[in-house]
């Protein structure tokens, strides 16, 4: 956190000054470790073992926050008797189809779940085939997750052998301090200290928070990493309370915004799923299958209809299904890496790359570049000439002779972009806070905002459309934003107002609860509804922090509903009283008959703690006054996920796809559902291969940003970290005959790169399963271009394209490699060496 989010880290420093204890778990001793009370080195890719052992420690010593767990989680829920655990199947859950390498989640459901829902899901998968099953990720269910029984059978004594609590106990029993030592390389003493600290610091009086970043997500079991932490935090009562939570530190200014208003293939704004060809023929089909009807997700028709109205305006009517048919349909994985394979295969012809640099920034850079070289046309928009724009004249494949400029047919348009000070608009930061940026000045030369580009591109396209049916969605599209200034810049505030939503009277809406399913409201992103409340750009509010309480509700605007802590109903006990004075946050004010506290309540302001829903209640009315998790169909925190995940209802430790270590917990070595693309452009290191004996992890440095286009051209940053380096322990350096400052070549099946060696005891050899395992670390900020004052080999070229089956994110944090002294071979020699590694 100190490395990549230094300014956010000020709050950790401040907490520490007030007595908080900070543990840092990381493969390397980083700048964060230097300021932590305890640093624990861990083998990259083994976190579920550690977290699982913490869960086991909590469960076997009954250290859970029982009152919280009973009231707010599904611990007491009884699971179907068809369910089989990894304990029973040596690392697999019930429902795995070896043929399709995917799960049928039917057997994971709650006992008594209507056959229809589960069966429907199953039938579809059979019907849609393998590709369709793959899309059964959580995003297919939108923000609400999968539907589950709102009032399932439960055993509040937690003794029923099939209740979630008991299943959890059995499942995590094998995650012990010994396995932590054996697989993570963490000593029993260190584990005991961590376990003692987090349990002692949780409960009524205290809360513990976990902070993570892509060190947890970029794995083939990335989603399950987060799940494991969620289970631990729910058991300890650390969700929805001040000082609790699992905090994702996101690495880009508006990466949160870019999933809220997604440029992602599988979702629409507000986490509404993209319709699927086989499941969602009509709006009604779609709504029936896009998650449950209870909880706030139960209002999904209002969210979806308002979106369709925002896009197709008056043309969207009740009669024509609000132009639901204008939405294109998915038939499987259309994600980033799949797209790249489509480029190589020639199905993808045109490519827009906007403020992104896949030629050096994505895993398996070679595959990316082979894809780019096979396009008809490519549009790159950026501040500098990024490698993605220039690969045809200076890419590494030219040096090896695999490509020749004259033979690359890609037509390339480079359009310079406006910087963040040359346009106005909102970023959504890592805490869901929208902040409006004022424009400081006009962009220079041909530089334009992306808003300008897409608005005018849309305008030009709409000028060219025909009367064909295919073009109807374009013809009917609402695309009339006011233009400003000599460049005819579309008004960003007008776009934000459309996102925030307007009512039947044309006035801006103030909350998503005002959205209607009848087409009378329009809203571009339901979770952002209210960002333009009272016709005021709420994201532009800037009442100074020092004039407000710590929640600072009048600085910017957080979705949803300007709420700062999600699920904050859980900050009070079931009766609505604070769990303790020390941790008081939201509470029920009986006198005024409403929830009070420093934040916006996460549920209806006047819903009494003793409210119990009547039969057949819908949406939020179906949740009782003690259901804090308002987006879930049952309002509970899911220790056990009966649906929604493609790789199991509970996390299990699987080794990274490329690992030097055998999974000693189960016979199943790696995530059974993970995705790979075995083809010549993206070969893989064999499992536990002696050719690739070292663990490789990648990371960022404080001084640079991502693949370097925003830092390497800047003298003040480039001079601080001028060269790509590889961090390794003195022991490994000695084994390899390397000295500090030397050159080394790092090799995987994909390619080899060179880096300077930084020999440091901050990277320590680990003892894993009785033998020494060495890890090395590589930052990934270098490339050959981007106008960089400093350049270097591309770390991402080394990485495998092995993806998490839920979200298709690649495993960049744990793979294997070889290290050789000296610089890498050049040209054909490099290819020859790689041949030897792959086949020799």
């Amino acid at each position: 956190m100190a490395e990549c989010h230094p300014v956010g880290f000020q709050w950790v420093v401040e907490a520490r000054a007030r007595g908080a204890k900070v543990f840092h778990v990381d493969p390397r001793y980083t700048r964060t470790s230097a300021l932590a009370d305890r640093y624990t080195q861990i083998r990259a890719g083994s976190d579920i073992v550690l977290l699982g052992a913490l869960i086991n420690h909590v469960l076997s010593n009954e250290l859970d926050f029982r009152e919280y767990v009973l009231a707010y989680t599904n611990a007491s829920t009884i699971v179907s008797e068809d369910y089989r655990d990894t304990e029973d199947l040596d690392g697999l859950f019930s429902g795995f189809d070896h043929e399709t390498r995917s799960y049928d989640p039917a057997s994971w459901s709650y006992e008594g779940a209507p056959e229809e829902a589960a069966a429907g899901e199953r039938a579809e998968q059979v019907e849609g085939g393998r590709a369709h099953a793959r899309t059964a990720g959580p995003d297919q269910y939108g923000a609400g997750g999968a539907a589950a029984l709102p009032r399932p059978a439960a055993d509040p004594t937690l003794r029923h052998p099939r209740c979630v609590y008991q299943i959890l106990k059995r499942h995590f029993a094998r995650y012990t301090a010994e396995t932590v030592e054996e697989l993570c390389g963490v000593s029993r003493e260190d584990f005991a200290e961590l376990a003692e600290a987090i349990t002692a610091n949780s409960g009524r009086e205290r809360t513990t928070t976990w902070v993570y970043s892509v060190g947890w997500t970029q794995h083939t079991v990335g989603v399950q990493y987060i799940r494991t932490a969620s289970i631990l935090q729910l058991l300890l009562g650390n969700i929805g309370r001040p000082g609790g939570g699992i905090l994702a530190l996101r690495g880009h200014a508006s990466i949160q915004g870019s999933t809220d208003i997604p440029t992602l293939f599988n979702i629409l704004p507000g986490y509404l799923p993209m319709p699927h060809a086989h499941r969602n023929e009509t709006l009604d089909d779609y709504l029936a299958r896009a998650g449950g009807d209870t909880g706030f997700w139960g209002r999904k028709r209002a969210y979806m209809v308002s979106l369709l109205k925002a896009w197709w305006g008056d043309a969207a009517t009740e009669e024509n299904g609000f132009r639901f048919d204008h939405l294109p349909r998915l038939t499987g994985d259309h994600g980033h890496y799949n797209t790249v394979m489509g480029q190589i295969d020639g199905t993808v012809k045109g490519y827009f790359v906007v403020g992104e640099n896949p030629a050096v920034g994505s895993s398996g850079g070679r595959a990316q570049r082979f894809g780019l070289a096979n396009l008809d046309w490519l549009v790159v928009r950026d501040l500098a000439l990024v490698e993605t724009a220039t690969f045809w004249k200076d890419g590494p494949e030219l040096e090896t002779g695999e490509m020749r400029t004259e033979e690359i047919g890609t037509e390339v348009f480079f359009l310079p972009a406006a910087s963040h000070v040359e346009k106005e608009g909102t970023f959504t930061n890592t805490q869901r806070l929208l902040q409006w940026r004022e424009k400081a000045l006009d962009p220079p030369g041909d530089c334009r905002s992306d808003l300008w580009f897409y608005y005018h591109l849309g305008r030009l396209i709409r000028e060219r459309v025909t009367s064909e049916e295919r073009d109807l969605p374009l013809r009917e599209l609402t695309w009339d934003y006011p233009e400003e200034g000599e460049h005819r810049e579309p008004s960003a505030s007008a776009v934000l107002r459309e996102i925030g939503g307007v009512g039947a009277d044309g006035q801006a809406l103030s909350a998503y609860t005002e959205l209607e399913p009848d087409g009378s409201t329009r809203c571009g992103c339901w979770i952002y509804c209210g960002v333009y409340a009272d016709e005021v750009n709420q994201a532009a509010r800037r009442r100074p922090g020092r004039e407000q309480n710590p929640e600072a509700l009048e600085w910017g605007w957080a979705w949803p509903a300007n709420r700062r802590i999600l699920y904050n109903r859980a900050s009070a006990d079931p009766e609505g009283r604070p769990w303790s004075e020390r941790k008081a946050y939201m509470y029920w004010d009986e006198e005024r008959g409403e929830w009070a506290g420093p934040d916006v309540p996460d549920f209806e302001k006047n819903k009494r703690p003793d409210y119990r829903p009547p039969e057949n209640a819908a949406a939020e009315d179906a949740l009782s006054g003690i259901d804090p998790f308002i987006m879930q169909t049952d309002g509970k925190g899911w220790l056990f996920a009966p649906a929604g995940l493609s790789d199991g209802p509970l996390p299990a430790h699987y080794e990274p796809f490329e690992s030097p270590v055998r999974n000693s917990l189960y016979g199943q070595q790696c995530n059974p559902g993970l995705r790979t693309y075995p083809r010549p452009e993206s070969p893989y290191n064999p499992e536990r291969s002696p050719r690739f004996p070292y663990v490789l992890t990648t990371y960022r440095l404080t001084e640079h940003h991502t693949a370097g286009a925003m830092s390497r051209p800047l003298a003040y940053l480039a001079e601080l970290q001028p060269e790509l380096f590889c961090e390794m322990s003195p022991t490994l350096a000695a084994d390899l005959g390397l000295a500090n400052g030397d050159w080394a070549t790092i090799v995987t099946s994909r390619t080899a790169i060179e880096a300077r060696v930084l020999v440091t005891e901050r990277v320590r050899p680990l003892r894993i399963q009785g033998r020494v395992v060495h890890q090395i670390g590589l930052p990934y900020h270098w490339g050959w271009g981007s106008g960089g004052l400093v350049t270097g080999d591309v770390t991402n070229d080394l990485l495998p394209i092995a993806l998490d089956p839920n979200v298709y994110i690649q495993e960049s944090k744990a793979t294997t490699c070889d290290v050789r002294p000296g610089r890498r071979p050049r040209g054909g020699d490099l290819l020859a060496m790689m041949e030897e590694y792959r086949h020799g």
Binding site: P6, V13, R31, L35, L720, P722, R756, E761, V772, V790
Partner: protein
């Protein structure tokens, strides 16, 4: 004069992010320092200099791990690891060597009691460079002038805090009235000692030290030299009166030696054959020949090595400026 302003750099909460280095360069529009990988932990800017006015040092103190015996188990040697980071800066000394020796008045003491170079005055004589006991100030060769931290004098003139202190994410760099900072620092050391971190100590806060106390002082977690700081710096001009006395003695020795040489020659030869007495307007010389005796006596008095030079003959006080 306004209150004396200063920096307190608390290295115990420095995260080595180098925001101070960059914020300083952006504000002061400094050139880069070259793009060389140094392989000295995460430090690639090496030291303070003409173009780097804040410099973050990285000191790795980690337990050593070696494979032990045939099992190859990592064996840990040494105590718990530390990675010390510290942002160094000009000390703005009470008795500043650079300021004392600057011949042009380019360096001066501001109303905030800081020491600043005036780039419109500096002629690049370079004398300040070796005069600094901390190696802070340096000459930028392509520009020819000496440069160092100004504690953002221009910003202070507008009531703004220096760029580095403003940027510092963890408040490791604190800016304010020096007296307040000293108080705060003493409290911080006490707090760390109470936590058992007895290695914490202040550097440069004492007005009694060899530079009369630093306007920018530090909380360190190890000996100063580990961070590249001198353990007991002294302003070179502390010994200046003595230096002048010795130089005066040497000057008189010269006069004596020359006089003796001529007197000896006169005694030996009874006057040179080339002499043409009374020629070439030497009336004035005739009148001062009596000086000879004085010179000889002078040589006798100050001529030897090792004796105490005469004290207090330089009118130093008049030009010393206000005392402290």
């Amino acid at each position: 004069m306004a209150e004396r302003m200063g920096f307190f750099t608390d290295t115990s909460i420095c995260i080595g992010c180098k925001a101070c280095e960059v914020a300083c360069k952006e504000w002061n529009q400094l050139p880069d320092d070259g793009f060389l990988f140094q392989a000295t932990s995460y430090d690639n800017t090496v030291a303070l200099g003409a173009s780097t006015w804040r410099h973050v040092a990285f000191i790795e103190q980690q337990p050593v791990w070696t494979p032990e015996g045939e099992t190859g188990d990592p064996l840990r040697i040494g105590p718990d690891g530390r990675w010390l980071m510290s942002s160094d800066v000009c000390k703005h000394c009470t008795h500043a060597g650079c300021l004392d020796v600057c011949p042009t008045g380019a360096l001066f003491r501001t109303e905030f009691d800081t020491v600043v170079v005036q780039p419109d005055i500096c002629n690049g004589c370079g004398y300040c460079v070796p005069a600094c006991p901390f190696g802070v100030i340096d000459r930028r060769e392509d520009d020819g002038r000496a440069w160092k931290c100004t504690m953002c004098y221009d910003r202070q003139r507008g009531g703004l805090e220096p760029a580095c202190a403003k940027a510092c994410p963890t408040d490791s760099i604190q800016f304010g009235p020096l007296d307040e900072l000293r108080e705060r620092a003493a409290g911080r050391v006490a707090a760390l000692h109470a936590e058992g971190r007895t290695e914490a100590r202040l550097y440069g806060e004492s007005p009694g030290d060899g530079v009369g106390g630093m306007g920018a002082f530090f909380l360190l977690l190890d000996e100063p030299e580990v961070y590249g700081l001198p353990p007991d710096p002294v302003v070179p001009t502390r010994d200046l009166p003595a230096m002048w006395r010795w130089a005066g003695a040497a000057a008189l020795t010269m006069v004596g030696a020359v006089a003796v040489s001529f007197l000896g020659a006169a005694v030996g030869s009874g006057g040179g054959s080339g002499r043409s007495a009374g020629s070439s307007g030497s009336r004035a010389f005739e009148q001062v020949r009596g000086v000879r005796g004085v010179l000889v006596r002078g040589v006798r008095r100050f001529g030897g090595f090792g004796g105490s030079p005469p004290a207090g003959w330089l009118p130093m006080r008049r030009f010393q400026g206000r005392g402290r």
